[in-house]
């Protein structure tokens, strides 16, 4: 039976070594470029008509724009529209990565924790810097909830700090675990189809069909969750409490 984890192997396509650092162009890099190219193609081509009455493609692009715009408005605030381009790019990138990863023979780079963690730590650092720039030292009152007795501070403050530091970890693990678990499960069931033969093979095949639909849901949901949590973190840093 084929190894269900084989699909996550990173293969070097073009070896590049810069001063001892392995910066090779891998299949992960290739699919990241595909995702960026896919987003760009989708948005540019579908908005080319700029029709007052949108075509199907144009309304898909407008829908995704509206979706994220209202998410930013509701969760971060009307004055914070300047963060919209970043959040929109983030959402489209993750969404396209997840969806492209569902194609047979493709590679899902969001199923690698280093990729999701890199995105999460960038967001975490950015949000923290925004918070410190906005509130100066007042930002650190974040770690001392108001109305708590002073006696509790030595325990509560470290707990709050650990809780704050766990944000990028939970953000990245959530996306990575969902994508990897789903893809592994699909491969495991697919591996049963041929060995069970023409009589029993239908059952795992049916499961795989259902899983494919479920994976589409997960691809959208996880892109959404990652984005909305970014919005919530941004909101916390801007408005404190």
């Amino acid at each position: 039976m084929a190894n269900p984890l084989q699909q996550f192997e990173v293969k070097t396509l073009i070896p590049i070594h810069l001063g001892g650092v392995d910066a090779s162009f891998t299949n992960a890099s290739m699919f990241m470029m595909f995702a960026v190219a896919g987003v760009a193609t989708f948005l540019i081509l579908s908005m080319r008509g700029r029709a007052l009455v949108p075509t199907r493609w144009q309304s898909m692009a407008e829908l995704s724009y509206e979706f994220i715009a209202s998410m930013v408005r509701d969760n971060v605030g009307t004055e914070e529209r300047k963060y919209f381009p970043f959040i929109f790019s983030l959402f489209m990138f993750i969404l396209f990565a997840n969806l492209i990863g569902l194609l047979p023979y493709s590679f899902t780079f969001t199923s690698h924790i280093i990729v999701t963690f890199a995105m999460a730590i960038m967001i975490f650092l950015g949000v923290t810097v925004i918070g410190i720039v906005r509130h100066k030292l007042h930002f650190f009152s974040f770690f001392m909830p108001a109305g708590v007795p002073k006696v509790m501070a030595p325990i509560l403050v470290p707990i709050e700090i650990v809780s704050y530091l766990s944000r990028p970890v939970s953000l990245s693990i959530r996306l990575f675990a969902n994508m990897m678990a789903g893809h592994t499960m699909m491969k495991v069931f697919a591996g049963f189809v041929i060995p069970l033969g023409i009589l029993g093979g239908w059952a795992p095949l049916a499961v795989d069909v259902a899983l494919t639909g479920f994976e589409f849901l997960v691809a959208f949901l996880q892109a959404y969750v990652f984005t909305i949590l970014t919005c919530l973190y941004l909101n916390d840093a801007i408005h404190l409490h």
Binding site: M71, R73, D74, N75, V76, G77, T78, F142, F143, M144, P145, A146, G147, I155, P158, I159, E160, I161, V162, S163, Y164, L165, S166, R167, V169, S170, I173, R174, A177, N178, L217, L221, Y224, V225, I228, L229, C231, L232, Y233, N235, D236, H239, H241
Partner: protein, 123 residues
């Protein structure tokens, strides 16, 4: 968007614009609980579990690093293991009670109806 009455000339455009903008004052923070109403049970379980584990990972990580640099072998590992566990429980509590993932729970009492119009969030 309402149609029809927008055939008016532009003279009261400013008034209409500011009115429309005033209506857009957002219900801040009603994040994942109200929007993710369609989230499956599996998704919720996943989220809660990850929350717990992540804090523990961070706590143990900090403990191990401090021990390595200060050479106080198991002391900080033990301390930060419990801090991490506490933070994990706190994260789970926040996620489950729909407070998002905010550090600090000062928001808890006034969060129930933050725009004061008795609608609790989205209008």
């Amino acid at each position: 968007m309402s149609e029809g009455k927008h055939l008016k000339p532009l003279d009261d455009l400013n008034v209409r614009l500011s009115k429309a903008q005033a209506e857009q004052i957002p219900p801040i923070r009603d994040g994942i609980t109200s929007q993710g109403g369609s989230m499956s049970g599996f998704g919720v379980a996943m989220r809660i579990g990850v929350e717990l584990i992540a804090a523990l990972i961070v706590g143990v990580g900090i403990g191990l690093l401090l021990d390595r640099f200060l050479e106080t072998a198991p002391l900080f590992l033990v301390v930060f293991f419990f801090l991490g566990a506490g933070a994990g429980i706190m994260n789970v509590y926040r996620a489950a009670s729909g407070l998002g993932l905010a550090a600090g729970y000062a928001r808890l009492p006034e969060n129930v109806d933050d725009d004061g119009d008795g609608t609790n969030g989205r209008t």
